[in-house]
Amino acid sequence: MNSDRTTPVVHIEKVEKWFGRTSALRDINLTVQPGEFMVFLGRNGAGKSTLLRVIARIIRPNSGKVEVCGVDIQRRPEAGRERLGFVAHNTFLYRNLTARENLKFFAKLYQVPNPEERIRETLGWVGLERSANRQIQGFSRGMQQRLAIARATLHNPQILLLDEPFSGLDLEVSELLAEWLKEFVSHGKTILMATHDLVQGLDGAHRWAILDYGKIVEEITGSYVMVRDKYRQFLKERKSEFF
């Protein structure tokens, strides 16, 4: 297994995924280098979330190859998932457990060394140390999402997969999340984010891919403003197809 700086952190070759007769992903080829912040743009149902879930091997592709840090995720899904953190709109947390208990549970599953110390450190980082012993059913959406970020980064993953992480967040938490993403990338880690909208926090992204009907239709490397204009143009064209 290779996971040095020259090995792509994600390498996808000819991936196809079908749900029954519906094609969710078509001929996806992608290579992501360490330290990259890549954003998948597209309308609802374009295949962005499916692609992230294929990379995490929650979904098995019908054909093609997916490697995470040099590990074939089809053959060794557990070894691949060790290197991934995943933040989605849903938090994956248990409402009857306290913030600390939630993190303790995930620390066990991810075999985090010195879990108590790491949990304290992570709770402090997301600003939840005072609420550590409260059951999360009393948490606001923003607090739950902060804890979800703590959960996803607890094991110090090399790659962070984000599926619409800004949805439903207020401005303050959105700004915090954007800060954390920049910090994460500045440490040489990789971010792959799926979003249907050009929300804030994307100005730090290096590369963009527009997905449509399960296919990457355009890859863009450039400034946020350039991407915004191209994506708006793309949406306009798609809209005109319907009317």
Binding site: R53, A56, I58, I59, R60, E78, A79, R81, E82, L84, F86, A88, N90, T91, F92, L93, Y94, R95, N96, L97, E101, F105, F106, K108, L109, Y110, Q111, Q135, Q144, R151
Partner: protein, 225 residues
């Protein structure tokens, strides 16, 4: 982290969440006690009738109370899409099954202990001389039920009418188990124990080995999308 530590972590989490919410145990317990109470007032059976109908009554109560618990087994994982969080962890998905199955087994055994005590009190039936056998049969029968019930609860979780779907899927598969459990319980209700006891106990052991192994091997495919 080995397979059993992974399962133990999930078992710990399920016990803690159930301890806080008490959703499954409360509904199972109330249902079980109501059934025993209803039978008591409806029939007021004598000693011979208890020997005849008692095993069936007990196992019908265990199974239907257990079904309520099974329906709750994955309900907690649907909130906040927590099952995705488990699937994303670097663990074997079979460990998720084992942890959840053991949690279901523990909840059912707890409820069954209370039901058994109530059965003995209401029907004035002396369980003490046959307690060892009763515990063994209850453990084997419940283990088989939890093994099959947990995997079928995971399958029915994503169906539109999961509460209805689970009994439809589960009851035909556990029919041989129920026959084995009722027959072996009937054998210990007579004094001395009936001849068929050894056969039915072996049957329950084989049922458990087969279905536990099959469930552990198939659970990956159940969770796969």
């Amino acid at each position: 982290m080995n397979f059993f530590s992974q399962a133990a972590a999930i078992l710990w989490k399920d016990i803690l969440t159930e301890f806080r919410s008490k959703d499954a145990i409360t509904s199972m317990l109330i249902f079980g006690l109501l059934v025993i109470l209803m039978f008591y007032f409806a029939f007021e059976p004598d000693r011979l009738e208890i020997e005849k109908f008692g095993p069936g009554l007990l196992w019908v109560t265990f199974i239907f109370a257990g079904m309520l618990g099974m329906n709750r087994a994955f309900a907690g994982e649907r909130e906040n899409d927590s099952l995705q969080g488990l699937k994303l962890a670097p663990i074997s998905w079979a460990a998720i099954y084992l942890g959840k199955m053991l949690a279901n087994l523990a909840f059912m055994l707890l409820v069954e202990a209370v039901i058994l005590i109530c059965f003995a009190v209401f029907f004035n039936f002396d369980l003490v001389p046959r307690l060892g056998w009763m515990l063994m049969i209850t453990l084997l029968g419940t283990l088989g039920f939890a093994s099959v019930g947990t995997i079928l609860a995971a399958i029915s979780m994503n169906t539109r009418m999961s509460d209805v779907m689970l009994p439809i899927l589960l009851l035909p598969v556990i029919l041989p188990l129920v026959i084995g459990a009722v027959s072996s319980t009937a054998a210990i209700f007579t004094d001395p124990p009936g001849e068929g006891l050894a056969f039915w106990l072996k049957f329950l052991v084989v049922y458990n080995i087969v279905f536990l192994t099959v469930a552990l091997l198939l659970f990956d495919f159940v969770l796969e999308e």
